[in-house]
């Protein structure tokens, strides 16, 4: 085992879909899964070559609702490579005896290798080694290399190297009754003797995807001249190759494919580009070399070294790896959001939720241009969000809880409880707090980068429009002289209404109200930060009135937070009146009680009756804001919140949360990092393995949980180090778990590059030379200005 390799030994058809998800390759432009060659496991057409996900833009139906659009469709399979001993039937892993079988994902180099030896019924043993990459340097290229070594026979081998546009969306079992056909074949052909070519179009969004491929054979490092027999069917194109093989001599088949879409920039027409570029590329080995270099440059920015055990270090690397191939440098010039499940599977159909809240603060510190590009994805959808607000009779812009390619609302109206088989109303769209996530990220990006130009031209406008939305959600309660936000849902999806209420929604969700007060301040801050000239422009363009700013100020000061049990922040008004839940009884009865909503509904009961949360809700406050910042917000509202109260709140809610969301354990580990190290580490460990061990029992094969992956890495980087970016200072307050021992990492902050080495005893920071101004660090209570090009050590 190595911290840079995810390894699976032995062939396991039952686990194949999970492995596929975890071994997905990508480069922020397209992604591909690499399953077992021709295994009849799973619903996949060409299992050896399954490709999942092209950046989000393309829908399937939602239960009980008409289709309007496509958001996630599969691109054509580019890797199909069948083989057989000439005259026999095509290789199928189910028909042969497998001797050795190993799958290795090289995280540092972005290469997936599969090695196996099989023996057929006539005793012929053949060793097969396969490597594949999706190029991290050139987003349009992928390659597959297969070496066949006949151990005890000689003869003739036939290979069918194909591009297959007949793929379906069939990766998620519960979606299979829905329409799964999203591609229409447009063209297949052979532009020259070496090249096969395919073009398809997505059905609704009409995005065209074109691929060209070349296949060659190499022996002893030399290319062997070979006849390529063209094969084509509608939506399918292939080259058939036959060649001699000899006992003990390896022979290699190399396949390189180019992929362009009609959404690409700097193109004439995608088919033309894919055909042009396939002839311009270097050899497989040359491409592999530049691919490895591109990964090497990425890891220089994103490495995170600790003294953790090898398994934990490997899983942290898996998480960074999958984050970096879902959103990467290539994403910067695309119009792409951050999908909840990566591009690793079809669950949630590529829709965009709030996961970016757990992802951008991490990216900000390493590749801020990437966060900027991902925030622009939101900015471009302001017109759609403004329209959504108009539709709801609200002001400003309303980003929807689940959104599709154009930024339109795509939250379900009903969802299926597989436990009861019932379709139930889905009120998740009442999670207006998604807008807080967008605003929070705009502010964090600015704090980390000091990118005033972004704030001036994009960020301030988003903050103003979200502040307007929140202000229009707030209603004045004259009796209390407080503002209230009524009829919403917080992050905790177990509670969508009061017990036995006829209308959905809850009042004064603490997370929403407190963060709304915070956002109202930040919107004013942003307007103060931009130049006078730009402020005037914004004021006119957005019709900002002085009375409006005063109203934000007043709402921010008089926002209502409900309390119960002497200092416990009520998750929402009335939470204190709910019944306590019989945790141990249900745990005994059901075992896995992460999805209590489904269990209770099936019993004819409802989580709305109980003090139980699917995931962190009040605790999110302690996750997003430091104690200092949170206390300031409460104080401004005229509430007290001392350290003791925070600890009591954390304990209270931690005991009442089922962690039915992968993000919840990260929040718990984060907020307990200083008060309960043991429990914090335990939560971290659970979050860490949630995908690699598929702890939710079958959700990972449908796509990894990107927020949780980024969140665990960020927990190490920011949570355990106490890194915060506020008040023009980079704050640190390390509390490194003994299991991690020490940390080494590099971050970017306001134009500085900083190398950190943190042990339990001391913190060393080395700043790179070249910046004219010093960087201001706040290490616990001590503020130091560090000149660029120097090293500082502080005892802890």
């Amino acid at each position: 085992m190595s911290k840079w390799t995810l390894t699976y030994d032995g062939f396991d058809p039952d686990a194949e879909q999970l492995r596929e998800a975890l071994c997905t390759l990508g480069n922020g432009y397209f992604a591909t899964r690499g399953a077992a060659p021709e295994a009849e496991a799973g619903p996949v057409h060409y299992p050896g070559t399954y490709v999942a996900g092209l950046y989000n833009r393309l829908v399937t139906e939602v239960g009980g609702r008409d289709i309007v659009n496509e958001d996630l469709v599969n691109v054509p399979n580019w890797l199909p490579l069948r083989f057989r001993i000439s005259g026999e039937s095509w290789f199928n892993i189910a028909d042969v005896a497998i001797d050795e079988y190993r799958q290795e994902l090289d995280l540092r180099q972005g290469i997936l290798t599969r090695l196996f030896t099989f023996e057929d019924d006539r005793g012929r043993r053949t060793r097969v080694a396969q490597r594949r990459f999706v190029h991290m340097g050139n987003p349009h290229v992928a390659g597959l290399q297969t070496t066949f070594l006949p151990e005890n026979w000689s003869g003739r081998l036939e290979v069918l190297s194909a591009i297959d546009g007949r793929v379906t969306n069939a990766g998620v079992a519960r979606y299979r009754k829905l329409n799964s056909q999203h591609l229409t074949p447009l063209e297949t052909g052979f532009p020259d003797a070496d090249t096969m070519y395919l073009q398809v179009e997505t059905n609704q969004s009409r995005v065209r995807v074109a691929l060209s491929g070349r296949t060659s054979v190499r022996l002893n490092g030399e290319t062997v001249p070979i006849d390529l027999t063209p094969v084509q069917e509608p939506g399918f194109v292939a080259h058939d190759l036959e060649f001699d093989v000899s006992e003990g001599r390896g022979i290699t088949v190399e396949k390189v494919v180019t992929l362009f879409t009609s959404r690409d920039r700097a193109i004439s027409e995608p088919g033309f580009e894919s055909r042009s570029w396939i002839g311009r590329l270097g050899s497989f080995d040359e491409l592999l070399r530049t691919h490895i270099l591109a990964w090497d440059l990425l890891w220089r920015r994103f490495h995170l070294d600790s003294a953790a055990d090898e398994y934990e270090a490997m899983v942290l690397n898996v998480h960074s790896f999958h984050l970096l191939q879902t959103v990467s440098k290539h994403t910067i010039d695309l119009d792409v959001g951050v999908p909840a499940r990566g591009w690793h599977g079809e669950a949630y159909r590529g829709h965009i939720f709030w996961d970016e809240l757990f992802i951008f603060p991490y990216l900000n510190l390493h590749l801020p241009d990437l966060t900027r590009a991902l925030l622009l994805y939101r900015y471009r959808r302001l017109p759609e969000a403004r329209w959504a607000a108009v539709q709801e009779g609200l002001d400003g812009a309303l980003y929807p809880w689940q959104s599709g390619s154009s930024g339109r609302e795509e939250s379900q109206i009903v969802h299926l409880n597989p436990e009861s088989g019932r379709w139930l109303p889905d009120n998740s769209r009442l999670q207006r707090h998604i807008n807080i996530a967008v605003a929070y990220n705009v502010w964090q990006y600015y704090q980390t980068t000091e990118d005033v130009a972004f704030l001036a031209y994009f960020g301030a406008e988003m903050l103003v429009e979200i502040a307007r939305l929140l202000a229009s959600l707030a209603t004045y309660n004259k009796a209390l002289d407080r503002y209230e936000i009524l009829g919403v849902m917080g992050p905790d999806e177990y509670h969508d209404a009061y017990p036995d209420a006829t209308e959905p929604g809850l009042n004064n969700n603490a997370y929403t109200n407190v963060m709304a007060a915070w956002v109202l301040c930040r919107a004013r801050d942003a307007l103060a930060l931009v130049s006078e000239f730009r402020r005037d422009e914004l004021t006119e363009k957005l019709h900002i009135q002085l009375e409006e700013l005063e109203r934000w100020e007043e709402i921010g000061q008089k926002m209502r937070v409900a309390f119960h049990d002497d200092g416990i922040i009520s998750q929402f008004e009335g939470y204190g009146d709910l019944e306590e839940f019989d945790w141990s009884g249900y745990a005994k009865k059901y075992g896995d009680i992460q999805r209590l909503d489904r269990i209770l509904e099936a019993e004819g009961d409802s989580p709305n009756r109980y003090k139980l949360s699917k995931q962190a809700d009040v605790l999110m406050l302690f996750y997003l804001l430091s104690t200092e910042e949170l206390q300031a917000v409460f104080e401004r509202m005229g509430y007290q919140l001392d350290g003791e109260a925070i600890r009591r709140n954390i304990d209270y809610y931690d005991q009442r949360t089922s962690h039915g969301s992968t993000l919840s354990r990260i929040v718990t580990a984060w907020v307990l990092a200083r008060s309960d190290r043991r429990r914090s580490w335990e939560s971290f460990r659970q979050a860490l393995v949630s995908d690699v061990a598929d702890i939710q029992g079958g959700t990972t094969p449908e796509g990894i949980h990107l927020g949780a992956m980024a969140g665990t890495v960020d927990l190490v980087q920011r949570g355990f180090t106490g890194i915060e970016t506020r008040e023009d200072t980079l704050w640190l307050d390390p509390s490194i778990p003994e299991e991690l021992g020490e940390l080494r990492f590099e971050i970017r902050y306001r134009g500085h590059v900083l190398d950190f080495h943190i042990t339990p005893e001391q913190l060393t920071v080395a700043t790179h030379p070249g910046h004219a101004h010093p960087v201001r660090l706040g290490i616990r209570d001590q503020i130091i200005d560090v000149q660029a090009g120097t090293t500082e050590t502080v005892s802890l």
Copy 2:
């Protein structure tokens, strides 16, 4: 007359195409021309409603060459609006008596108005007032409002409001033998009772364009309910309306159209978006209000006030106006280059040349984000440029002289001399100096903005690859111990070979060689400016070797410049040996001798034999670099260049230039601004009127000359003020022509906003507050650091 209005009185069918070009409306996303209603002038299908140009990406054939692609196609006509008195034939301006006729382009508000009164053969007089806009705030929207006032009759009026996809590329007479059909109709329809809808696809590039339109009738400010009769044919969709009109009462027809393309971001599918948004827009008046506000905000940045006479002030505003609607704020999120002829006509087919050299330095000082976006257009085409270098056996990246959508070479191989009727070899692709223009603009953008992030992630890579190209173009001449660049063309297109040579190309073009030496320095500077971390990344990614940097240094020091006549820089080696040209003899014989190339070729002669230039070539050096900077470059190369020598060179070449390019007079006016004010002003005046007066005799109707338009405004802004951005200082050296009297303008420099007021006696600069650091100004020899928020006055 007003400096904010371009007015044409009287209907003139002969001048209609020129007026159309000069009255084109646009918003950086799409452009539309507004010709006379149903006049049978010109080749236009629906003359009242001609739409030209969708951002560049879509071609026509080039004489003698196969079609490979489309770069400029027309979008469907969105404004067709026919009308007639019910039962009569459709209004045609040729059939009626026109009484009054006025066309007004409001430059400040971006509104084109046409007012006319006509009388039919039965004596019915009707007054028509038409206003149109292409929305500068919402790039997808355009509107047309037509008011009919029957002066002496009552009756019934019929209007046909259409969207027409049957447009052709027929705007340039000499292209008409080529294929002019570039759109394929895909869909027409009426998604609801109020809406008409059309979708087309471009033939080669397969870009889809979808439009939806609504038409309504208003009387006394109220909407009149009206029956809309749907009309559709392949590629054509319309609503037919009939309503009563009464003597002396105006009635208004309003048409609003939405346009989306498959290249847009934040969309599902363009048809879906156009149909959705047409129902979400406000009234014509509301749209007009936000359109005017958007223009108002633009003019705050771009205004340039002087005491020039009203006509000159108006033409300067026309130039800024057309620049701002060709490349505008909407361009920032598109993948668009700067087309030589705007989107105002079909000449040059939307191809990208070097015009940006005359445009970006102007934009940098007002909307640097726009230049950044336009430079990224070049950056995205680096892979194609690298491939072009490989094809020519050169290093680095070779941007082509004329490029199409993907950045591929689109320079003609042959061109037609209309004077002789002969197709001639076209060697213009040997203008390698286009690469110098790209590099120069990267550096200027950095100097003006101090945007190190751009330099680090995009600019340095472009500079390095262009430096490599130039270094590989240079060959060592051992006898002279000098580097030479052989077989190229300079900017002057009259010279493409030595007299009677069998191979094209000239040696040691002074402009190319001197600027190559300059670029080789700037590439090294850029690598020194980026962070160590990024420099390491670039070094590995681009395989930059120390020896390579040393070679650049050496070439920069030993580049050859040829001289003749004791200190005259030879335009190219051997220029001094050419014959003098008989200027007065030819002027007498031909009158207009701007295109001597065509005249001489028709005579069986060639400009290659003479000391005559189509346009500035050596003079470009004095235009791009200040005396100080140019002297430093020459000194580094071991050559002398004193002020006296510069003056002699300017005189020498000014006397030998025909100014057959609109850009040439700007260069002349610029370089003479301090030494020969009278001649400078004369050249400025000629450059200023070149489009409004169509001084090249018929080229403006095919599209305005964008470089010359921007260049004249920049001549006032930078040329006469002596503004330069170098060595981290904003330099000024005003020399305001007495015809301009004084100047007031606002610029952006490194995060500062600066208001300038310059008179012959003094310079006042007011800096906006908010910037932490002072701005460094160099006024003639005096360096001053000005704090943000203060005002400084300096006597001149």
